[in-house]
Amino acid sequence: MKAPEHPSPAGLVGPAQTSAAAGAAASGAAGEPAAHGAAEGEPDEEPESEPPPGRSWVERLYLREIASGLARTFRHLVLERPFTTDYPDEQLPYNPRARGEHILKVDEQGREKCVACLLCEAACPSKCIRIVVGPSPWPDRERYPVEFEIDMLRCIYCGYCEDACPCDAIELTPKPYSVYDNREAYIYDKEKLKNNYPQDWRERFSGGYGKLTGPPYRGEGGDRSLIR
């Protein structure tokens, strides 16, 4: 291709105006890489497909490179385990500190720890928390949430509610976002939030669901021992 040495008049005029014409001229001059020139149509651009000088045509068949590449492919295919997982049958664990769905924590007697101070509701940027406050039935506290609802469709999982909570009553677990076929199911009530992090999820992390005691995140490739 002679365009760099002998710029055509079209090349001087500019790409926007005459790109099609320049492409046609380039393909006529260079012959073999015509398809590239016609497709890209950039007259000023250095063609990248031109082989470096001093290679024979045998080398330019690139048989050795193709063979080594395929060997690597087959080696991975046969000898190595796959990096991908068969989602959703097989799921990688989230980082134990990931912010997924909420849990409303309870004390030893199964009573919610929440005192309905509404600070989570105040901190929530997406206004997805709805609490109805009532006098508590227990003598050791005055108020408790009669109703506690989180609209998981509105929630952005920012974790501000957890930060705001003075009683450690609400916590974001690594449980990823659930999928339902109706909107009502996304509005979690108090009972659902209390039982939102079932036992098999807790056992998945060695230290229960406490975040700081969970195993560290392994980085690339994941920790395969956790996949089951």
């Binding site: 005192v115 309905a116 101070c117 509404l118 600070l119 105040a122 406050v133 009532g134 006098p135 506290r141 005055e142 108020r143 003075p166 009683c167």
Partner: protein, 585 residues
């Protein structure tokens, strides 16, 4: 009287002698934090929060600094005095005081109803430290219900004794006392007493912390959700200036708004709890047609019901039509009412006065309150030295009705005339605009209304009045309309709309306007403001008033706040870093 000239933070101030430094500072927009000081109460000087540095001129005229900071609430101003409110010594003193006040204070903010309007929170944030050096066990004090409206949390109390002084000086009942000594000092009921005084709710307002909270609003809302609308209490002819606090169009509480000429800083508990009827389950939400023979009838849209009423009025003719207005209508509604029905065949219905006379007026103990003479001097006291007046008349706008419809139209004789005419069969159509809560029509009136062939009733709730009607129109409560009331002393005050009317309900102004339009009268605009303008031009008693002028703009409802805008702390990044450093160290 000569005025004393002195300086606070370099600002030249003149004040009458005997003024306290704190009052003068607040009057001039210089905010000094304080708990126990209240303008309407005597000076106790026990919270020690309002520390300032004071310099007095010596014999040679040079300013001599005092050796210690002084409390601004109990320091009288003096000629040539120099007061400094922001020096390092003052800042350090405030920090120390706050640390002591917080020693026994529990970390109750998440469950405390005061959170969000708590002076302890505000001043700790503004002037205090973020940590406590106190490592010993906190004292536990009692929690109990002082009365039907007030609950006391002893742990949160800082012993400012505002409530004790209130019961002595304003309520005059001396229900609350301080018991025990030293750190065990706590507020309690006087032996054998229950705090059921009609002004008891005010101690909740003046409590600067969450020690005294309202049982009515206990745990119901968080105050930062509340929207505040200035309005007028409708439950008696005193016309207390109030604020309506709503969240999501639901009224949650009423608070007094400071107006020295009407209610001071206070309001009574009847008014304070007088918002329940707005959300009563019996509230009318749609218009009804219920003919006497029950042959047909049912729900109606607004336009249909207005057409029906207009038809009934046309059929009855001017001689056969009577109209009854209630003393709960605003002046604007009464003016429209007068334009529509005249002043001849109209009468006024109203709630009967209080049965128990002991409720009014309230006299404080002026011997115990040395500030009472001072308040009287400034016109802050009502006549006879009463600290608060609950009017016997339980209607907000009888005076306005008398001014607009005339004395004769509002006299009981006119109502008797209607009853006689109705029972004699001379009335073909009666239009009743009631919209009063807790109104039971007297027996003759109920009989008369039932005897009229077409009775139109605009009311709030299902009751005997709506039961006697053939056409029922859902009306608006006082919190749902704009307009003016004229109180028992003839003071015209404005109320604002705090929430929209529920369901199909319409304000009486809309009802009257639509009815007039349907009857083919020239009605003009349906705006309270324009109608008030007409009223001022037409009725002599309202001459000279303006819509803007009748609105008493007290900037803060909160009695323990200064009436002046508070100086907000300006935090520079450097100050933030200093605060962090101080907090960590």
């Amino acid at each position: 009287m000569d005025k004393v000239r002195f300086r606070i933070d370099g600002i030249e101030i003149e004040a009458p002698p005997g003024t306290m430094v704190l009052e003068a500072a607040l009057d001039h927009g210089i905010f000094v934090p304080h708990y126990c000081f209240h303008r309407a109460l005597s000076v106790a000087g026990n919270c020690r929060m309002c520390m300032v540095e004071v310099r007095l001129p010596g014999r040679d005229g040079k300013l001599e600094p005092a050796r210690k900071p002084s409390i601004a609430c109990a320091t009288e101003v003096a000629e040539g005095m120099e007061v400094l409110t922001t020096t390092p010594l003052v800042t350090e003193a405030r920090k120390g005081v706050l640390e002591f006040l917080l020693i026994n204070h529990p970390l109750d903010c998440p469950v405390c109803d005061q959170a969000g309007e708590c002076d302890l929170q505000d001043f700790s944030y503004e002037f205090g430290e973020a940590f406590s050096r106190f490592r010993e066990d906190k004292l536990i004090k009692h929690t109990k219900d002082f009365g039907p409206e007030v609950r006391f949390y002893g742990n949160r109390c800082i012993n400012c004794t505002r409530c004790v002084r209130f019961t002595q000086e304003i309520a005059g009942s001396c229900d609350l006392v301080q018991v025990q000594r030293g750190g065990h000092n706590v507020i309690d009921l006087a032996p054998g007493r229950v705090f059921d005084h009609p002004l008891s709710g005010n101690v909740v307002d003046i409590c600067p912390v969450g020690a005294l909270v309202s049982r009515d609003m206990l745990h119901r809302v968080r105050v930062w959700h509340l929207e505040r609308t200035p309005s007028i209490c409708p439950h008696c002819a005193t016309g207390c200036n109030i604020e309506i606090h709503t969240q999501d169009e639901v009224v949650h509480r009423l608070k007094p708004r400071h107006n020295p000429e009407v209610n001071g800083y206070w309001m009574c508990d009847f008014g304070r709890l007088g918002y329940k009827h707005i959300h009563a389950p019996q509230r009318l939400l749609e218009h009804r047609w219920q003919p006497r023979d029950r042959a047909e009838g049912g729900r109606l849209g607004f336009q249909s019901v207005i057409e029906l009423v207009a038809e009934a009025i046309r059929t009855a003719g001017p001689e056969g039509t009577w109209a009854l207005a209630s003393a709960w209508l605003t002046n604007e509604e009464l003016w429209l009412f007068r334009r529509l029905f005249g002043t001849e065949q109209v009468a006024l219905i109203a709630r009967p006065p209080w049965q128990e006379r002991r409720f009014y007026p309230v006299w404080g103990d002026s011997e115990r309150n040395p500030s009472l003479p001072r308040q009287r001097e400034r016109g802050r006291l009502l006549e006879d030295g009463a600290t608060f007046m609950i009017a016997a008349d339980r209607n907000p706008n009888r005076t306005g009705a008398e001014r607009i419809l005339g004395e004769q139209a509002c006299a009981p004789a006119r109502l008797d005339a209607f009853v006689n005419a109705a029972l004699a069969g001379q009335v073909r159509c009666a239009v009743v605009l009631a919209s009063m809560p807790d109104y039971l029509p007297p027996e003759p009136l109920a009989q008369a209304l039932a005897a009229v062939p077409e009775t139109v009733v605009v009311d709030l709730a299902d009751g005997p009045l709506a039961g006697a009607a053939t056409i029922v129109i859902a009306g608006a409560a006082w919190a749902e309309k704009r307009g003016t009331f004229t109180n028992g002393r003839g003071r015209t005050q404005r109320l604002e709309m705090a929430r929209p009317t529920p369901g199909q309900a319409r304000t009486e102004l809309e009802v009257l306007h639509a009815l007039g339009t349907q009857l083919g009268r020239p009605m003009g605009p349906c705006s309270p403001r324009r109608l008030f303008g007409e009223l001022v031009g037409e009725v002599a008693a309202f001459a000279g008033l303006s819509w803007e002028g009748v609105h008493h703009q007290a900037p803060e409802w909160s009695p323990h706040m200064a009436a002046q805008p508070r100086r907000l702390p300006v935090l520079s990044p450097a100050a933030l870093v200093r605060q962090r450093g101080g907090g960590a160290g």
